[in-house]
């Protein structure tokens, strides 16, 4: 079998496809070029409200205040992907890595730096590019590096504690968002006075959850189940 597997498509179909794709590409390009050269979009609104959003970086303000609901659902997507991967029970798919000396020492060197960078990104998110996702993915990279170096989670932490850490982002969002309803507000409506603190709280738990989720996704299977089997 051809390695690329391209031979499954007959030539005539491929030609038809190229023609169609060319037509589509022309259409897409035409659509893009027909857009107005200047369009402020929602930037005016975003900047207008930045003072009561609790942060000074507009992207963070959109992510964690104006459209925090999207972020909440998206943490749900991440958790869901993990649930999906675990439900596949891919215990056999994992290759055991044997770290060489280079990887071993590199990981010792890099992991602390990654943790520090992640902390900086988290803190910087309030006023400059950065934030929970960037910080979470850097931290997640540290976790992946540890896994490659042969590190495994402690058996005592693989059950409920790990699960709690995984759901932390979604749970805190849901809990705090719902609590904010009680004094008569809306879901995820932050009082301007507390907005900064709440956003920092959300970013911190989101960073942790994202980092641990990404690491767990890399691992592939539920470590609790892996031990049992």
């Amino acid at each position: 079998m051809n390695n690329t597997g391209e031979n499954t498509i007959p030539l005539s179909l491929r030609l038809l496809l190229m023609v169609l794709l060319t037509v589509m590409a022309v259409g897409l390009a035409y659509a893009v070029l027909s857009l107005p050269a200047q369009a402020p979009g929602l930037s005016v609104y975003a900047v207008e409200n930045i003072n009561i959003s609790g942060v000074s970086n507009p992207v963070t303000a959109v992510l964690l205040n104006y459209r925090a609901y999207d972020t909440f659902l998206e943490l749900g997507v991440l958790l869901l992907a993990l649930l999906g991967v675990w439900s596949l029970g891919c215990a056999g798919c994992q290759h055991q890595s044997s770290p060489g000396p280079v990887l071993d020492s590199l990981s010792r060197l890099l992991v602390p730096i990654l943790i520090m960078v992640s902390g900086y990104l988290l803190w910087a998110g309030a006023h400059a590019p950065g934030g929970a996702f960037q910080a979470g993915s850097v931290l997640g990279a540290a976790g992946v590096l540890l896994l490659l170096a042969g590190w495994r989670i402690h058996a005592g932490l693989a059950g409920l504690p790990l699960r709690i850490a995984l759901v932390l982002g979604v749970a805190v969002f849901a809990l705090v968002g719902a609590v904010l309803i009680l004094p008569g507000g809306q879901l995820l409506a932050f009082p301007p006075a507390y907005a900064g603190g709440l956003i920092l709280l959300f970013e911190t738990v989101a960073t942790l959850s994202i980092a641990i989720s990404l690491t767990a996704l890399f691992l592939g299977a539920d470590p609790d189940e892996e031990d049992a089997s």
Partner: protein
């Protein structure tokens, strides 16, 4: 401001190329990569066109959308890769089964 549109056009090009690769390649890893390239194309369009603000800071809303989109794409890719590994361990090859349905059996 034409360079903004250039980025957007590159985004559209990535989208189209990704679609071509998605259809043409049989190996699942390539299909998953193709989907990711298509996704990157969409993100590039979203982000590039956000800069049409006449010297002011770019529109932050599409940026936030792209970050959301990236997390969604990461999640979907993770699930797809895990699924691909499972398909390979069950069928022995990482390709879609193009056999007729009636041959399906328990």
């Amino acid at each position: 401001m034409s360079y903004i549109f250039l980025y957007a056009l590159v985004g559209m090009g990535l989208f189209t190329l990704g679609l071509y690769a998605l259809i043409i390649h049989a190996h699942l890893l390539r299909k998953i990569l193709a989907i990711n390239i298509m996704g990157s194309g969409v993100f590039l369009v979203l982000v590039a066109l956000a800069a049409r603000t006449e010297g002011a800071a770019p529109d932050p809303v599409p940026h936030a959308m792209v970050i959301t989109g990236i997390v969604v794409a990461v999640s979907a890719t993770a699930l797809a890769l895990a699924l691909m590994l499972r398909v390979r361990s069950e069928t022995g090859r990482a390709e879609l089964d193009e056999e007729p349905l009636s041959k399906f059996d328990d």
